[in-house]
C-alpha cells in the first residue's frame, strides 16, 4: 500500500526545449528525471562527442580539421534539405517531394551552366542565375504542395500522399528533360564551382540554418507554424491564417530543396535524375534525430543541424572504420528506429509529468 517517495528529490529548473527555446517549469523532480532532462537537452551533443572519441581512438585522422570539413561539406546539402523538411514537420506535415525537386533543379542547373554562352560570357552572373533559378523551381514545387495542402486543409496523412504524388510528377519532368542522360560538368572554373568547394557549402548550410531558426523563433509566421502543427483547430480558432502558414511552410521547404539541388551539382560536378534519390528520407532521419516530433508542433532548426551532424559523423565513422556498406544500412535503420522510439518515450514521460 505504502509507496516510498523518491529518496532524494531535488529541485531544479527543469528545462525542456520546446520550439528551440528554453522554458522553465519549476517542478520538483527525482534524480532519474533530472538525468532524463539532461539527456534530452544534451543528448545530441553527447552523441557527437562519443562518436568522435571512438572514431578518433581507432583512426586518429578522424579528428583532423580536414576530415571535419569533409563531413560537413558532404552533408551540407542534406542539411539544407533537412531544414526545409523540419518546417514541414513542425507544421504537422511532411514533404516527400524533396528528392525529385533536388534532381530537377540539379539537371536544370547543369543545363544552364553547360550552355556555353551563359557560362563563358558572364560566369559570375551565370552562377547567381542558377542559384536564383534553382530556388525558384523549388519554391514553385513547394508552393503547389502548399496550395493543395491548404485547399484540402490537409494534415500529416494528406501531406504524405500529396507530396508523394509530387515526387513522382517532378521526377518524371526531370527524366523528360535529360532523357535519362547523365550530365557531366563542362565548366572549368568560375563562381559556380566555388559553390561546391572548400567551406562554401558549409557556409551556405549555416546561413540557411541561422535564417530559418530566426524566422521560426522571431516571427509571427514561425509561432503560427508551431500552433498549426500542435493543434490545427486551436490555431484556427485563435484567428490565425492557417492556410497561409501551411502554404508558406511548404514553399520554404521547396526553396531549401531547390538550393540543395544547385549546391549538390556544384559539389559533385555532375547531375542525373537520380541526384536527389532518398534525400527526403535522409532529411526526415536528420529531422527526427534532431528531436523534432513527427507529430508536429515542436522542434527547431538548430537541433536539426545537430541531427545532421550526428548522422554525418556516424556514417563517416563507419566508413573510416571500414564497416561494410550493407552493415552501414543496418546501422542507419537502427538510428531511425531509435530516434522515433526516443520521441515516443519522450512524449510518454511528458505525459507522466503532466498527469500530476
Amino acid at each position: 500500500m505504502r509507496r516510498q517517495l523518491p529518496k532524494r528529490s531535488c529541485r531544479l529548473q527543469f528545462q525542456i526545449e520546446r520550439g528551440g527555446r528554453y522554458m522553465e517549469s519549476n517542478v520538483i523532480v527525482s534524480r532519474r528525471k533530472k538525468l532524463i532532462g539532461v539527456l534530452r537537452e544534451w543528448g545530441l551533443v553527447f552523441s557527437i562527442i562519443i562518436i568522435t572519441v571512438i572514431a578518433t581512438i581507432i583512426r586518429p585522422a578522424f579528428l583532423s580539421g580536414q576530415n571535419m570539413l569533409n563531413i560537413l561539406r558532404a552533408y551540407s546539402t542534406i542539411g539544407i534539405a533537412s531544414f526545409g523538411m523540419a518546417y514541414a514537420v513542425i507544421g504537422g506535415g511532411m514533404d516527400l517531394s524533396i528528392g525529385s525537386t533536388i534532381s530537377l533543379t540539379a539537371v536544370i542547373t547543369m543545363l544552364i551552366v553547360n550552355s556555353s554562352t551563359v557560362a563563358t560570357v558572364a560566369p559570375a552572373s551565370a552562377a547567381l542565375l542558377v542559384l536564383l533559378v534553382g530556388i525558384l523551381i523549388g519554391a514553385t514545387i513547394g508552393a503547389i504542395n502548399g496550395a493543395i495542402m491548404a485547399a484540402v486543409n490537409g494534415k500529416l496523412a494528406e501531406s504524405f500522399i500529396i507530396t508523394y504524388a509530387m515526387q513522382i510528377v517532378v521526377g518524371a519532368i526531370a527524366q523528360a528533360i535529360v532523357r535519362g542522360n547523365f550530365q557531366a560538368a563542362q565548366y572549368r572554373s568560375g563562381l559556380f564551382k566555388e559553390f561546391g568547394i572548400g567551406i562554401t557549402p558549409v557556409l551556405f548550410m549555416l546561413a540557411v540554418a541561422l535564417i530559418m531558426q530566426f524566422l521560426l523563433v522571431k516571427t509571427k509566421f514561425g509561432r503560427s507554424l508551431y500552433f498549426l502543427g500542435s493543434n490545427m483547430s486551436a490555431a484556427k480558432m485563435a484567428g490565425l491564417k492557417v492556410r497561409k502558414v501551411r502554404f508558406l511552410a511548404h514553399t520554404i521547404c521547396g526553396m531549401c530543396a531547390g538550393l540543395a539541388g544547385v549546391i549538390v551539382v556544384a559539389r559533385v560536378g555532375s547531375a542525373s535524375v537520380l541526384q536527389g534519390q532518398n534525400y527526403e528520407l535522409d532529411a526526415l532521419v536528420c529531422v527526427a534525430i534532431g528531436g523534432t516530433s513527427l507529430d508536429g508542433g515542436t522542434g527547431s532548426i538548430m537541433r536539426t543541424l545537430l541531427g545532421v551532424m550526428v548522422v554525418g559523423f556516424m556514417m563517416t565513422a563507419l566508413n573510416i572504420l571500414g564497416v561494410q556498406s550493407n552493415a552501414q544500412l543496418i546501422v542507419r535503420g537502427a538510428i531511425i528506429v531509435s530516434a522515433v522510439a526516443l520521441d515516443v518515450l519522450n512524449k510518454n514521460l511528458k505525459l507522466r509529468e503532466v498527469a500530476q
Binding site: 509507496r3 517517495l5 517549469s25 500542435s230 484556427k236 485563435a238
Partner: protein
C-alpha cells in the same frame, strides 16, 4: 443500519510538492447515493483515482465489503465490483455502440463472434435503460450527450456493487438527465451504491442521500444531504461566505455593435436575427444541438453561412475566416477549451499572446521579453494562479485554464466576445470569478454573447436572452421576463 460497502480510512496522497489528500476518511453505505462535492483541485478526482487503482495512497487503507483490500489497477477495481463512469470518453469512435459495449467480452458461437446475438442483446439493454439510440449506431454519429450515455451503459452492462460517476450530466440535456436520474434511483433500489461527483448542487439535493464536502485535500464536512442548505455547501466548498451567486454589473447599455440579420446555414441554423449592444451581456439559451454554437461559429467565420447579413458598428461585413473575424474585433471562446481553446502543450505566454503577435513585436520581430511582460500583466489582472507563466497550459486547473482563454482574447482587445459555455467543468469559486470578469468587461464597453446550458447561470448573468431550438430563434426575453419556466418552454417548443 451502518452497512458500509466502502470505507476509506485516513488516506494521504502526496505528489511532488503538494499534498493532494490529507488524512481523508470517506465511507459509503450500501445502496446509498453519496454526493462528493468540492472545487476543482480539491482532491475529489485523486480520491476516486485511488479507489480505482490509478494511484496508490501513500498512507491509509481501503475496506471494501468489510474486507481490507489493495487495488493496484483499474482491472482489479472492476473485478472487485467498482465501476467508474469517466468524464472523458473512452469510446472507439469508428465502431458501433454494441461493439463498444461488448468490446472486451465478445461472445463466440462456432468459433466466430456472434454479432447477431450481441446486437440483439445490446439493443435490448439500451432499450431497457430508455436511451434514444440504436446498438448499430456508430459512436461518431452520436451527440456528445449520447456518447456520455454509452459511457454510462458500458459501466451498467456489468454488475457492479459501487459505481462512481464523475460529472455525468455535464454534457447531457434535460431529457437525458432525467433518464439518468431514473437509472441512478433504480440502481439504488437494487442495492448498488453510487458515488456522485457534481458541480451542480441542484443535482446533489435532488439525488443524494449523503454529501461529503472536500476542500484542499481534506474532508470539511459529511452528513445527510437534507441537513445542509445550498449556501452552506457552497460556503464549505469555497471556504468563504457567498453573498450572491450571480454578481450584478453596473453599466449603461450602449449602441448596437453587432447586428445579425437572417443568418442561415443550411441544415443547421435557420433565419437567426438579433442585435447586440455595447456593454450588454446577451444570453443564448437552448438545449444542446439547438444551434447556439453554430451561430457563434458563423459569426466568428469558423464555418461558412449560406444566407444572411452581419453588420458590425453599422457596417456590413462578410466574414469568411476566423482571422477576418478577429480583424473585425470579434473573439470566440470555444466550448472545448482543451481541444480548441488552448494548445495544452505550450506555455501560458504562448497561449495568451497568440491572438495578437503584432503587439509583442519590437520593430519587426517578436521580443520574448516584451511578450513575457505583457502576458504577466494580463495574467496578474485576471488573477491566473500558476507558479510561472512558463508553465504548460495542461498543468492548470480548469478555472485557470479558462482564464487563460479569456486572457488570450483580451490580449487582442476585441470588442465583441462570444463565450461558448464559459464555465463548463469549472468549480463554484472559479465560476464566480468568471462572472465578475464578464461584468467587468461589459462595464469596459465590450459586448458579450454568453452561450450556456446552465439555465440559472444564463438567466442570472444576461441582460437579454435569445432562446434557440432546432436551429431557429424561438424568442427573446428580457432579464425580468426570463424565468426558468419561460426559457424552457421556448427551448422545447418546435
Amino acid at each position: 443500519m451502518d452497512d458500509f460497502i466502502l470505507e476509506m480510512h485516513h488516506i494521504t496522497k502526496r505528489f511532488p510538492g503538494v499534498v493532494a489528500l490529507n488524512d481523508v476518511s470517506f465511507k459509503v453505505r450500501r445502496g446509498e447515493i453519496h454526493a462528493l462535492v468540492g472545487e476543482n483541485g480539491a482532491g475529489k478526482s485523486t480520491l476516486m483515482k485511488i479507489l480505482n487503482g490509478v494511484y496508490q495512497a501513500d498512507e491509509g487503507s481501503i475496506v471494501l465489503n468489510g474486507e481490507q483490500t489493495i487495488i493496484r489497477n483499474t482491472n482489479e477495481a472492476k473485478a472487485k465490483g467498482l465501476g467508474l463512469v469517466f468524464q472523458e470518453f473512452n469510446l472507439v469512435n469508428s465502431l458501433s455502440v454494441a461493439e463498444n459495449l461488448y468490446i472486451n467480452r465478445l461472445t463466440r458461437r462456432h468459433g466466430r463472434v456472434d454479432w447477431k446475438g450481441i446486437y440483439k442483446e445490446a439493443q435490448q439493454f439500451i432499450d431497457s435503460l430508455g436511451f434514444n439510440f440504436n446498438a448499430t449506431d456508430k459512436i461518431e454519429e452520436l451527440s456528445a450527450a449520447q456518447r456520455q450515455l454509452v459511457e454510462i451503459a458500458k459501466v451498467l452492462a456489468i454488475k457492479m456493487d459501487l459505481i462512481v460517476m464523475d460529472e455525468p450530466t455535464s454534457s447531457l440535456t434535460t431529457t437525458e438527465t432525467e433518464i439518468l436520474y431514473k437509472i441512478i434511483k433504480n440502481l439504488k433500489q437494487q442495492g448498488v451504491s453510487v458515488i456522485y461527483i457534481s458541480h451542480k448542487l441542484e443535482e446533489v439535493f435532488k439525488l443524494s442521500d449523503t454529501t461529503t464536502i472536500i476542500r484542499d485535500g481534506e474532508v470539511v464536512d459529511s452528513g445527510p444531504t437534507s441537513t445542509f442548505t445550498r449556501n452552506q455547501i457552497v460556503e464549505k466548498m469555497v471556504g468563504r461566505s457567498i453573498d450572491t451567486e450571480f454578481p450584478h454589473k453596473q453599466c449603461e447599455i450602449g449602441e448596437v455593435v453587432l447586428k445579425v440579420d437572417h443568418i442561415t446555414r443550411n441544415g443547421l441554423i435557420e433565419d437567426i436575427s438579433f442585435e447586440l449592444h455595447k456593454g450588454e451581456i446577451l444570453g443564448f439559451a437552448g438545449l444542446i444541438g439547438s444551434g447556439r454554437t453554430e451561430v457563434a461559429e458563423a459569426i466568428f467565420g469558423a464555418e461558412p453561412y449560406d444566407k444572411g447579413v452581419i453588420e458590425i458598428q453599422g457596417k456590413k461585413v462578410a466574414i469568411h475566416s476566423t482571422h477576418q473575424a478577429k480583424q473585425e474585433s470579434i473573439g470566440l471562446l470555444t466550448e472545448d477549451r482543451k481541444e480548441t481553446g488552448l494548445v495544452l502543450a505550450y506555455n501560458l505566454i504562448w497561449n495568451i499572446t497568440i491572438t495578437n503577435l503584432d503587439k509583442v513585436k519590437n520593430g519587426r520581430f517578436i521580443s520574448e521579453k516584451k511578450e513575457a511582460k505583457l502576458a504577466a500583466e494580463l495574467s496578474k489582472d485576471l488573477n491566473i494562479k500558476t507558479p510561472s507563466l512558463k508553465q504548460y497550459a495542461i498543468n492548470l486547473s480548469g478555472g485557470n485554464q479558462q482564464k487563460v482563454v479569456f486572457a488570450k482574447w483580451l490580449f487582442s482587445d476585441v470588442d465583441i466576445l462570444i463565450l461558448d459555455e464559459p464555465t463548463r467543468g469549472i468549480d463554484v469559486g472559479a465560476k464566480y470569478e468568471i462572472y465578475l470578469l464578464m461584468n467587468r468587461l461589459a462595464e469596459q464597453g465590450k459586448a458579450i454573447i454568453m452561450i450556456s446550458s446552465e439555465l440559472p447561470e444564463v438567466i442570472g448573468m444576461s441582460d437579454r436572452l435569445v432562446v434557440l431550438s432546432g436551429g431557429r430563434k424561438m424568442g427573446e426575453l428580457s432579464h425580468e421576463k426570463a424565468t426558468p419556466e419561460a426559457v424552457m418552454s421556448l427551448a422545447v417548443s418546435n
